[in-house]
């Protein structure tokens, strides 16, 4: 594993970084609004916030095109937004409304927007690794000029699909970027205590999949590392793994107080907030505080509007529960 040089030595593209700042702010605002909506009772079920990990989705997706595909996890709002989905369609999905991206059938854990290549969050840890691998095989077989990105947590590397998927992707030299977001936790358990050996990068390299580790709270470092990995993949080099070290600033789900970790640890990690760090870089590049605060406000306004739109949106027709199951032998609603 090569430690990846951060962006500091490179010429800074301020416009690009500012877009990423805004994208991170949109994700943060979305997650805060979603958590508030859970508290308010308008969003049901469980929400897994992406707070603290925004730089990873944004830095990676900055190197993807709309045609590239993305497979995500239970913690998938950030990836979906970064890939270009509309916050309104996503918020409608969280509120279970008819105009949600999945028509209200999936909710947070199955959020997806195929129109931007986002083929689904997933309720099963690790399952997306194999689906991403298969999508990459289809891309290769059809001679298409696109790649697949696949995000998963550090917990997923202890499931079989990590081995089976990376082995497969390497054997068939598939165009897929695996991204392991090491946020230190698997639900309420520290992943380190449950993971033997030197970690995901070493496991990947044992399968011949080159791996790069970055500071996942440094959006510039993620962007730079992803750019090189994506270039290698597009050039036909086969799969790559990006290991992004980060920290899950919120509970596992919004209702998790995360009492299993000391407050001071969390406080220290808040000092490493990727959005604050990005703001610092932009300030060094000459942007003023007013501009930076304005971006945060713009993000919050956009998400607040999306939430209002969702609250005013209609519920799905109950008959919709019976559609999209299967063509042959699908369910039929009994007439009352």
């Amino acid at each position: 594993m090569e430690p990846h040089a951060g962006g500091a030595q490179r010429n800074l593209d301020v416009e690009r970084l500012r877009r990423q700042y805004l994208d991170m702010a949109r994700i943060r605002a979305f997650e805060e609004a979603a958590a508030a909506a859970v508290a308010e009772g308008t969003v049901l079920g469980l929400i897994h916030p992406y707070i603290g990990q925004e730089a990873i989705a944004v830095g990676v997706c900055a190197n993807l095109t709309r045609d590239d595909l993305l497979l995500s996890t239970h913690r998938g709002h950030g990836h979906t937004l970064a890939k270009g989905a509309s916050p309104a369609g996503m918020m409608c999905e969280l509120l279970g409304r008819a105009n949600g991206v999945c028509g209200g059938k999936g909710g947070s854990m199955h959020i997806a927007d195929a129109s931007v290549g986002m083929l689904g969050a997933n309720g099963v840890v690790g399952a997306n690794i194999l689906i991403a691998t298969g999508a990459a095989q289809a891309i290769k077989m059809q001679g298409q000029d696109r790649i697949v990105s696949c995000f998963f947590g550090d917990g997923a590397v202890n499931r079989g699909p990590f081995l089976e998927g990376l082995n497969w992707a390497a054997v068939f030299r598939l165009p897929v970027l695996f991204v392991c977001e090491d946020n230190a936790f698997s639900a309420t358990t520290r992943t380190e205590a449950m993971t033997a050996g030197p970690g995901p990068a070493a496991r990947a390299e044992s399968l011949g999949v080159p791996a790069v580790a970055v500071d996942g709270n440094d959006v510039l470092a993620v962007d730079t590392a992803a750019r090189d990995l994506v270039a290698a993949i597009r050039a036909g080099g086969g799969p790559r793994l990006l290991v992004a070290r980060t920290y899950r600033l919120s509970g596992h789900v919004t209702i998790d107080p995360a009492a299993y970790r000391p407050d001071h640890e969390v406080q220290e990690r808040w000092a490493d907030d990727p959005i604050v760090r990005c703001a610092d870089l932009l300030r060094q590049a000459g942007l003023d505080d007013g501009t930076l605060a304005g971006d945060l406000d713009a993000a919050r306004d956009e998400i607040a509007a999306a939430y209002r739109f969702a609250k005013d949106s209609p519920w799905p027709d109950p008959r919709e529960a019976f559609t999209d199951v299967q063509d042959a032998g699908g369910p039929v609603m009994e007439e009352a």
């Binding site: 595909l69 497979l71 690794i129 689906i131 077989m141 497969w168 042959a328 369910p331």
Partner: protein, 341 residues
């Protein structure tokens, strides 16, 4: 209706002639035809490049190349999961599980992913794949190579479940399964690979999903069955004819969706139903058929509905033990005679 007449319509060109071939060759032909017809169709699985465990892929890699007849690692979860992703991304994979027992290593990929992806994503994706899971008792291969788990998959919304009994159906149903936009669990019976039968000529003869086949006409009793038990039940019906019992044998062919109309029409005529399968009796698919017929035709039944299935035990190895897991023509005939009393 005449024997071997489809209760449903056979689509495509009407065949004038037939060719005798094995159940295995019929499937091989079907896959080759569909791969020639549609460049998006491909197959993946262990050892398929050398023809597959039962020869059902023999010669295909030579024609279609190693990318479309793709050998895989021994990674059943990956074979299935890759098929799901590849189906979402525009291809039509045929995933080979070697035998249905090994498909249990890929249940998440099939049940949680393939079956539900279209629904969970509100119709944004389709998962047009076929997963082949050879089922049934494989003589002397014992408990982990012999199961009949078709009922499990009929319980999962999103899946189509097919269990062909004849060479003609193995060609026509596999072709329909490959053309289906739903994920299809395709369960060939391991004891049928070498069975021969007439297969209609012409490369576009499909057997529709969800339509039963009248395997043998009769008037007194309806015997509903599928897969390896079809020939057993036809044998029993032939034997019973000599005892002046006329049994009608219906081969369901597709278990989900199953041809309720055909079964109900037959039982309306005969007033008696036996459902027979090789799978364990308890919670077998026979229970679904029996319950449906009882609910719909209770007043017209001349006898309580009967089921025949395997004992609830793992398939044993030693021949005299293994025989206890099998249901024979004599067992079927006995059950039918019981209905006639």
């Amino acid at each position: 209706m005449t024997p071997d007449q489809s209760l449903g319509q056979t689509s495509g060109q009407t065949p004038e002639t037939t060719t005798e071939m094995t159940y295995g060759d019929a499937a091989r032909l079907a896959l080759a035809e569909e791969m020639r017809r549609d460049a998006r169709v491909w197959a993946l699985g262990e050892d398929v490049g050398r023809g597959g465990v039962f020869g059902q892929y023999a010669g295909l890699q030579a024609e279609f190349g190693a990318e479309r007849i793709a050998d895989s690692p021994i990674s059943e979860a990956a074979i299935m999961g890759v098929a799901v992703g590849a189906a979402m991304a525009g291809t039509r994979p045929v995933a080979e599980m070697r035998i249905s027992d090994f498909a249990l290593c890929a249940v998440d990929e099939l049940v949680n992913q393939a079956a539900k992806a279209r629904f969970m994503l509100g119709g944004q994706v389709r998962v047009p794949l076929v997963v082949r899971q050879p089922m049934g008792i494989w003589p002397a291969l014992a408990a982990q190579h012999s199961q009949s788990l078709e009922a499990w998959y009929t319980h999962v919304p999103g899946l189509v479940v097919v269990a062909p009994a004849t060479p003609a159906d193995n060609r026509g149903l596999l072709k329909s399964a490959i053309r289906s936009d739903d994920p299809v669990v395709y369960m060939e019976h391991k004891d049928l690979w070498k069975d021969t039968g007439p297969v209609p000529d012409g490369d576009d003869v499909l057997v529709p999903l969800g339509k039963a086949r009248l395997a043998r006409p009769g008037d007194d009793v309806t015997v509903v069955t599928w897969s390896g038990m079809v020939r057993t039940c036809v044998q029993a019906a032939d034997d019973l004819a000599g005892q002046r019992v006329s049994a009608e044998v219906i081969d369901l062919r597709t278990l989900w969706p199953w041809d309720q109309d055909a079964v109900l029409a037959s039982v309306e005529k005969t007033g008696r139903l036996l459902v027979a399968h090789e799978a364990v009796l308890a919670s077998g698919f026979g229970a679904e058929v029996a319950a449906t017929v009882s609910e719909r035709l209770f007043g017209r039944l001349k006898a309580p509905v009967r089921r025949l299935g395997g004992p609830r035990m793992p398939i044993p190895y030693s021949p005299p033990l293994e025989a206890q897991a099998r249901r024979t023509a004599a067992d079927v005939a006995r059950a039918v005679r019981g209905l006639m009393q």
